[in-house]
Protein backbone atom coordinates (compact mmCIF):
# COMPACT_ATOMS: atom_id res chain seq x y z
CA UNK A 1 0.00 0.00 0.00
CA UNK A 2 2.87 2.40 0.69
CA UNK A 3 3.68 2.80 -2.97
CA UNK A 4 0.11 3.91 -3.65
CA UNK A 5 0.47 7.11 -1.71
CA UNK A 6 2.84 8.73 -4.17
CA UNK A 7 0.90 7.81 -7.29
CA UNK A 8 -1.51 10.75 -7.25
CA UNK A 9 1.35 13.22 -6.85
CA UNK A 10 3.40 11.83 -9.68
CA UNK A 11 0.27 11.62 -11.83
CA UNK A 12 -0.53 15.21 -10.94
CA UNK A 13 2.88 16.56 -11.90
CA UNK A 14 2.84 14.48 -15.04
CA UNK A 15 -0.51 15.90 -15.91
CA UNK A 16 0.80 19.42 -15.63
CA UNK A 17 4.01 18.85 -17.59
CA UNK A 18 3.17 16.21 -20.13
CA UNK A 19 1.59 16.75 -23.50
CA UNK A 20 -2.08 16.02 -23.82
CA UNK A 21 -1.83 12.48 -25.20
CA UNK A 22 0.50 11.32 -22.45
CA UNK A 23 -1.56 13.02 -19.78
CA UNK A 24 -4.69 11.16 -20.82
CA UNK A 25 -2.95 7.83 -20.47
CA UNK A 26 -2.01 8.77 -16.91
CA UNK A 27 -5.59 9.36 -15.75
CA UNK A 28 -7.19 6.74 -13.60
CA UNK A 29 -10.72 6.80 -12.27
CA UNK A 30 -11.63 5.19 -8.94
CA UNK A 31 -15.34 4.54 -8.51
CA UNK A 32 -16.46 4.42 -4.89
CA UNK A 33 -19.50 2.24 -4.29
CA UNK A 34 -20.73 2.36 -0.71
CA UNK A 35 -23.20 -0.52 -0.25
CA UNK A 36 -25.62 -1.71 2.36
CA UNK A 37 -27.90 -4.60 1.41
CA UNK A 38 -27.32 -4.25 -2.33
CA UNK A 39 -26.95 -7.95 -3.10
CA UNK A 40 -29.19 -7.74 -6.15
CA UNK A 41 -27.97 -4.39 -7.44
CA UNK A 42 -24.22 -4.74 -6.95
CA UNK A 43 -23.56 -7.25 -9.79
CA UNK A 44 -25.68 -5.16 -12.15
CA UNK A 45 -24.01 -1.85 -11.35
CA UNK A 46 -20.56 -3.45 -11.61
CA UNK A 47 -21.48 -5.00 -14.96
CA UNK A 48 -22.67 -1.62 -16.25
CA UNK A 49 -19.54 0.10 -14.93
CA UNK A 50 -17.22 -2.40 -16.59
CA UNK A 51 -19.16 -2.08 -19.85
CA UNK A 52 -19.01 1.72 -19.75
CA UNK A 53 -15.29 1.87 -18.97
CA UNK A 54 -14.37 -0.75 -21.54
CA UNK A 55 -16.27 1.12 -24.22
CA UNK A 56 -14.69 4.46 -23.33
CA UNK A 57 -11.23 2.96 -22.79
CA UNK A 58 -10.53 4.84 -19.58
CA UNK A 59 -8.39 3.33 -16.85
CA UNK A 60 -10.48 2.46 -13.80
CA UNK A 61 -11.03 0.57 -10.58
CA UNK A 62 -14.20 -0.08 -8.59
CA UNK A 63 -13.95 0.10 -4.81
CA UNK A 64 -16.81 -1.62 -3.01
CA UNK A 65 -17.23 -0.37 0.54
CA UNK A 66 -19.77 -2.62 2.20
CA UNK A 67 -20.91 -1.79 5.69
CA UNK A 68 -21.45 -5.33 6.94
CA UNK A 69 -24.67 -5.99 4.99
CA UNK A 70 -26.58 -8.92 6.47
CA UNK A 71 -27.95 -9.91 3.03
CA UNK A 72 -24.63 -11.27 1.75
CA UNK A 73 -23.58 -8.33 -0.43
CA UNK A 74 -19.96 -9.10 0.42
CA UNK A 75 -20.22 -12.68 -0.76
CA UNK A 76 -21.55 -11.46 -4.11
CA UNK A 77 -18.78 -8.86 -4.22
CA UNK A 78 -16.19 -11.62 -3.79
CA UNK A 79 -17.67 -13.48 -6.76
CA UNK A 80 -17.43 -10.30 -8.82
CA UNK A 81 -13.81 -9.84 -7.77
CA UNK A 82 -13.09 -13.33 -9.13
CA UNK A 83 -14.91 -12.64 -12.40
CA UNK A 84 -13.42 -9.22 -13.16
CA UNK A 85 -10.08 -9.43 -11.34
CA UNK A 86 -8.84 -7.94 -8.08
CA UNK A 87 -7.17 -5.05 -9.91
CA UNK A 88 -10.59 -3.87 -11.11
CA UNK A 89 -12.83 -4.79 -8.18
CA UNK A 90 -11.42 -3.86 -4.79
CA UNK A 91 -13.29 -4.97 -1.69
CA UNK A 92 -12.78 -2.70 1.26
CA UNK A 93 -15.57 -3.66 3.67
CA UNK A 94 -16.23 -2.25 7.11
CA UNK A 95 -17.63 -4.09 10.09
CA UNK A 96 -20.85 -2.12 10.54
CA UNK A 97 -22.95 0.70 9.15
CA UNK A 98 -20.91 3.85 9.66
CA UNK A 99 -22.41 6.34 7.23
CA UNK A 100 -21.67 7.76 3.81
CA UNK A 101 -19.08 10.40 4.73
CA UNK A 102 -16.76 7.96 6.45
CA UNK A 103 -17.31 5.47 3.62
CA UNK A 104 -15.85 8.02 1.20
CA UNK A 105 -12.89 8.69 3.49
CA UNK A 106 -12.32 4.96 3.80
CA UNK A 107 -12.60 4.56 0.03
CA UNK A 108 -10.22 7.42 -0.82
CA UNK A 109 -7.55 5.84 1.39
CA UNK A 110 -7.58 2.79 -0.84
CA UNK A 111 -8.06 4.55 -4.17
CA UNK A 112 -5.16 4.58 -6.63
CA UNK A 113 -6.86 6.78 -9.23
CA UNK A 114 -6.26 10.51 -9.53
CA UNK A 115 -9.97 11.04 -10.00
CA UNK A 116 -12.75 9.72 -7.77
CA UNK A 117 -16.27 9.02 -8.96
CA UNK A 118 -18.97 8.73 -6.34
CA UNK A 119 -22.36 7.28 -7.17
CA UNK A 120 -25.17 5.22 -5.69
CA UNK A 121 -25.03 1.47 -6.12
CA UNK A 122 -28.82 1.12 -6.41
CA UNK A 123 -28.93 1.67 -10.21
CA UNK A 124 -30.43 5.15 -9.94
CA UNK A 125 -27.17 6.47 -11.41
CA UNK A 126 -26.25 4.97 -14.77
CA UNK A 127 -22.54 4.46 -15.54
CA UNK A 128 -23.16 5.46 -19.18
CA UNK A 129 -22.80 9.08 -18.01
CA UNK A 130 -19.27 8.59 -16.69
CA UNK A 131 -17.59 9.18 -20.08
CA UNK A 132 -19.54 12.46 -20.25
CA UNK A 133 -18.30 13.42 -16.78
CA UNK A 134 -14.74 12.70 -17.92
CA UNK A 135 -15.19 14.69 -21.14
CA UNK A 136 -16.64 17.59 -19.19
CA UNK A 137 -13.79 17.50 -16.68
CA UNK A 138 -11.20 17.68 -19.45
CA UNK A 139 -13.10 20.37 -21.34
CA UNK A 140 -12.88 22.90 -18.50
CA UNK A 141 -10.12 21.27 -16.41
CA UNK A 142 -12.72 21.20 -13.60
CA UNK A 143 -12.01 20.10 -10.03
CA UNK A 144 -15.53 18.73 -9.61
CA UNK A 145 -18.14 17.56 -12.13
CA UNK A 146 -21.70 17.20 -10.86
CA UNK A 147 -24.49 15.20 -12.40
CA UNK A 148 -27.65 17.28 -12.61
CA UNK A 149 -31.29 16.17 -12.84
CA UNK A 150 -32.49 19.73 -13.30
CA UNK A 151 -30.79 20.88 -16.50
CA UNK A 152 -30.76 20.04 -20.20
CA UNK A 153 -31.73 16.45 -20.89
CA UNK A 154 -31.49 15.58 -17.22
CA UNK A 155 -34.52 14.24 -15.39
CA UNK A 156 -36.02 11.56 -13.22
CA UNK A 157 -37.99 8.37 -13.64
CA UNK A 158 -40.44 6.91 -11.15
CA UNK A 159 -41.33 10.06 -9.23
CA UNK A 160 -44.93 11.08 -8.61
CA UNK A 161 -46.08 14.70 -8.63
CA UNK A 162 -45.67 15.13 -4.87
CA UNK A 163 -42.10 13.95 -4.98
CA UNK A 164 -41.37 16.26 -7.90
CA UNK A 165 -42.88 19.25 -6.12
CA UNK A 166 -40.85 18.58 -2.98
CA UNK A 167 -37.67 18.14 -5.02
CA UNK A 168 -38.19 21.22 -7.14
CA UNK A 169 -39.27 23.28 -4.13
CA UNK A 170 -36.27 22.25 -2.06
CA UNK A 171 -34.00 22.97 -4.99
CA UNK A 172 -35.54 26.40 -5.59
CA UNK A 173 -35.23 27.37 -1.94
CA UNK A 174 -31.61 26.23 -1.94
CA UNK A 175 -30.84 28.21 -5.08
CA UNK A 176 -32.37 31.37 -3.58
CA UNK A 177 -30.70 31.07 -0.19
CA UNK A 178 -27.26 29.77 -1.11
CA UNK A 179 -26.77 30.85 -4.75
CA UNK A 180 -24.33 27.97 -5.28
CA UNK A 181 -23.97 28.29 -9.06
CA UNK A 182 -24.75 24.58 -9.40
CA UNK A 183 -28.22 23.34 -10.36
CA UNK A 184 -28.31 20.03 -8.47
CA UNK A 185 -26.94 20.18 -4.95
CA UNK A 186 -28.47 17.08 -3.44
CA UNK A 187 -27.42 14.67 -6.17
CA UNK A 188 -24.67 12.21 -5.36
CA UNK A 189 -23.36 11.32 -8.81
CA UNK A 190 -20.12 13.25 -9.09
CA UNK A 191 -16.53 13.19 -10.21
CA UNK A 192 -13.84 14.78 -8.05
CA UNK A 193 -10.14 15.29 -8.37
CA UNK A 194 -8.80 13.04 -5.63
CA UNK A 195 -6.99 15.74 -3.67
CA UNK A 196 -10.03 18.01 -3.93
CA UNK A 197 -12.34 15.36 -2.49
CA UNK A 198 -9.86 14.74 0.31
CA UNK A 199 -9.81 18.42 1.19
CA UNK A 200 -13.61 18.70 1.06
CA UNK A 201 -14.03 15.65 3.28
CA UNK A 202 -11.97 17.38 5.94
CA UNK A 203 -14.30 20.38 5.86
CA UNK A 204 -17.71 18.77 5.68
CA UNK A 205 -19.61 17.80 8.78
CA UNK A 206 -23.24 17.33 7.65
CA UNK A 207 -25.04 14.07 6.97
CA UNK A 208 -27.45 12.78 4.32
CA UNK A 209 -28.73 15.13 1.62
CA UNK A 210 -27.13 18.07 3.37
CA UNK A 211 -23.72 16.42 3.13
CA UNK A 212 -23.87 16.48 -0.68
CA UNK A 213 -24.99 20.10 -0.53
CA UNK A 214 -22.23 21.11 1.86
CA UNK A 215 -19.61 19.54 -0.40
CA UNK A 216 -20.59 21.94 -3.20
CA UNK A 217 -20.84 24.96 -0.91
CA UNK A 218 -17.37 24.26 0.53
CA UNK A 219 -15.98 23.62 -2.94
CA UNK A 220 -17.19 27.10 -3.95
CA UNK A 221 -15.67 28.64 -0.82
CA UNK A 222 -12.32 27.05 -1.61
CA UNK A 223 -12.56 28.35 -5.21
CA UNK A 224 -12.64 24.93 -6.81
CA UNK A 225 -14.15 24.87 -10.29
CA UNK A 226 -17.34 22.90 -10.89
CA UNK A 227 -18.80 21.58 -14.14
CA UNK A 228 -22.22 20.00 -14.72
CA UNK A 229 -23.51 17.09 -16.80
CA UNK A 230 -27.25 16.35 -17.21
CA UNK A 231 -28.16 12.88 -15.97
CA UNK A 232 -31.31 10.80 -15.88
CA UNK A 233 -32.10 9.51 -12.42
CA UNK A 234 -34.00 6.24 -12.48
CA UNK A 235 -35.39 5.76 -9.00
CA UNK A 236 -34.61 2.50 -7.27
CA UNK A 237 -35.50 -0.42 -9.46
CA UNK A 238 -35.11 -2.86 -6.60
CA UNK A 239 -35.65 -1.83 -3.05
CA UNK A 240 -37.64 1.04 -1.77
CA UNK A 241 -36.92 4.73 -1.96
CA UNK A 242 -37.98 6.91 0.88
CA UNK A 243 -38.72 10.57 1.35
CA UNK A 244 -40.47 11.08 4.65
CA UNK A 245 -41.30 14.10 6.76
CA UNK A 246 -38.19 13.47 8.84
CA UNK A 247 -35.97 13.78 5.79
CA UNK A 248 -37.59 17.06 4.78
CA UNK A 249 -37.15 18.49 8.27
CA UNK A 250 -33.49 17.49 8.48
CA UNK A 251 -32.94 18.89 4.98
CA UNK A 252 -34.41 22.25 6.00
CA UNK A 253 -32.35 22.31 9.19
CA UNK A 254 -29.20 21.60 7.22
CA UNK A 255 -30.05 24.19 4.59
CA UNK A 256 -30.64 26.89 7.22
CA UNK A 257 -27.41 25.93 9.00
CA UNK A 258 -25.47 26.39 5.77
CA UNK A 259 -27.37 29.62 5.10
CA UNK A 260 -26.38 31.04 8.49
CA UNK A 261 -22.82 29.78 8.63
CA UNK A 262 -21.36 29.95 5.13
Amino acid sequence: MASHSDIPNSAGSQRRRAKKGQAEAAEKYSVLLPTYNERENLPLIVWLLVKSFEESGNNYEIIVIDDGSPDGTQEVAQQLEKIYGSDKILLRPRAKKLGLGTAYIHGIQHATGNFIIIMDADLSHHPKFIPEFIRKQKEGNFDVVCGTRYRGNGGVYGWDLKRKIVSRGANFLTQILLRPGVSDLTGSFRLYRKEVLQKLMEKCISKGYVFQMEMIVRARQLNFTIGEVPISFVDRVYGESKLGGNEIVSFLKGLLTLFATT
Partner: protein, 92 residues
Protein backbone atom coordinates in the same frame (compact mmCIF):
# COMPACT_ATOMS: atom_id res chain seq x y z
CA UNK B 1 -19.96 37.45 5.14
CA UNK B 2 -22.40 34.56 5.43
CA UNK B 3 -25.40 34.25 3.10
CA UNK B 4 -27.67 35.16 6.03
CA UNK B 5 -25.72 38.37 6.62
CA UNK B 6 -25.84 39.20 2.91
CA UNK B 7 -29.62 38.84 2.94
CA UNK B 8 -30.04 40.85 6.14
CA UNK B 9 -27.81 43.70 4.98
CA UNK B 10 -29.51 43.92 1.58
CA UNK B 11 -32.94 43.99 3.19
CA UNK B 12 -31.77 46.55 5.74
CA UNK B 13 -30.44 48.87 3.05
CA UNK B 14 -33.68 48.58 1.06
CA UNK B 15 -35.72 49.23 4.18
CA UNK B 16 -33.68 52.31 5.08
CA UNK B 17 -34.05 53.75 1.59
CA UNK B 18 -37.78 53.14 1.72
CA UNK B 19 -38.07 54.71 5.19
CA UNK B 20 -36.10 57.76 4.07
CA UNK B 21 -38.48 58.26 1.18
CA UNK B 22 -41.68 57.64 3.13
CA UNK B 23 -40.71 59.92 6.00
CA UNK B 24 -39.02 62.37 3.61
CA UNK B 25 -35.96 62.45 5.87
CA UNK B 26 -33.92 64.24 3.21
CA UNK B 27 -36.52 67.01 2.96
CA UNK B 28 -36.91 66.68 -0.78
CA UNK B 29 -40.47 67.89 -0.43
CA UNK B 30 -42.08 65.83 -3.18
CA UNK B 31 -45.78 65.57 -3.86
CA UNK B 32 -48.40 63.52 -2.04
CA UNK B 33 -48.90 61.54 -5.24
CA UNK B 34 -45.27 60.33 -5.15
CA UNK B 35 -45.66 59.49 -1.47
CA UNK B 36 -48.70 57.33 -2.26
CA UNK B 37 -46.65 55.36 -4.79
CA UNK B 38 -43.72 54.84 -2.43
CA UNK B 39 -45.73 53.73 0.59
CA UNK B 40 -46.95 50.30 -0.63
CA UNK B 41 -43.68 49.38 -2.42
CA UNK B 42 -42.68 46.63 0.07
CA UNK B 43 -46.02 44.92 -0.53
CA UNK B 44 -45.47 45.07 -4.30
CA UNK B 45 -42.00 43.65 -3.79
CA UNK B 46 -43.37 40.78 -1.72
CA UNK B 47 -46.11 40.01 -4.25
CA UNK B 48 -43.62 40.13 -7.14
CA UNK B 49 -41.21 37.81 -5.31
CA UNK B 50 -44.03 35.42 -4.52
CA UNK B 51 -45.29 35.36 -8.11
CA UNK B 52 -41.76 34.86 -9.37
CA UNK B 53 -41.29 31.93 -6.99
CA UNK B 54 -44.57 30.27 -7.94
CA UNK B 55 -44.06 30.92 -11.66
CA UNK B 56 -40.53 29.56 -11.69
CA UNK B 57 -41.52 26.55 -9.64
CA UNK B 58 -44.45 25.77 -11.93
CA UNK B 59 -42.36 26.15 -15.04
CA UNK B 60 -39.59 23.93 -13.71
CA UNK B 61 -42.11 21.37 -12.57
CA UNK B 62 -43.65 21.31 -16.05
CA UNK B 63 -40.21 20.96 -17.67
CA UNK B 64 -39.04 18.22 -15.29
CA UNK B 65 -38.20 15.39 -17.72
CA UNK B 66 -39.68 11.95 -17.22
CA UNK B 67 -36.91 9.68 -18.40
CA UNK B 68 -38.99 6.83 -19.80
CA UNK B 69 -36.37 5.74 -22.33
CA UNK B 70 -33.64 5.76 -19.71
CA UNK B 71 -35.71 3.41 -17.58
CA UNK B 72 -36.49 1.15 -20.56
CA UNK B 73 -32.83 1.04 -21.51
CA UNK B 74 -31.88 0.16 -17.95
CA UNK B 75 -34.43 -2.67 -17.76
CA UNK B 76 -33.08 -4.15 -21.01
CA UNK B 77 -29.51 -3.87 -19.79
CA UNK B 78 -30.40 -5.49 -16.48
CA UNK B 79 -31.63 -8.56 -18.34
CA UNK B 80 -28.53 -8.57 -20.52
CA UNK B 81 -26.34 -8.21 -17.43
CA UNK B 82 -28.09 -11.02 -15.58
CA UNK B 83 -27.63 -13.39 -18.50
CA UNK B 84 -23.99 -12.41 -19.00
CA UNK B 85 -23.15 -12.64 -15.30
CA UNK B 86 -24.79 -16.05 -15.04
CA UNK B 87 -22.69 -17.26 -18.00
CA UNK B 88 -19.59 -15.97 -16.20
CA UNK B 89 -20.50 -18.12 -13.21
CA UNK B 90 -22.12 -15.66 -10.83
CA UNK B 91 -24.47 -17.36 -8.39
CA UNK B 92 -27.02 -15.13 -6.73
Amino acid sequence: MTKLEQWMSTLLVLMLIWLCLVQDLLNLGYSKKFHDVILPLPVYLLVTAGSYALGTLGLRLANFNDCEEAAQELFMQIQEAQADLASKGLIL
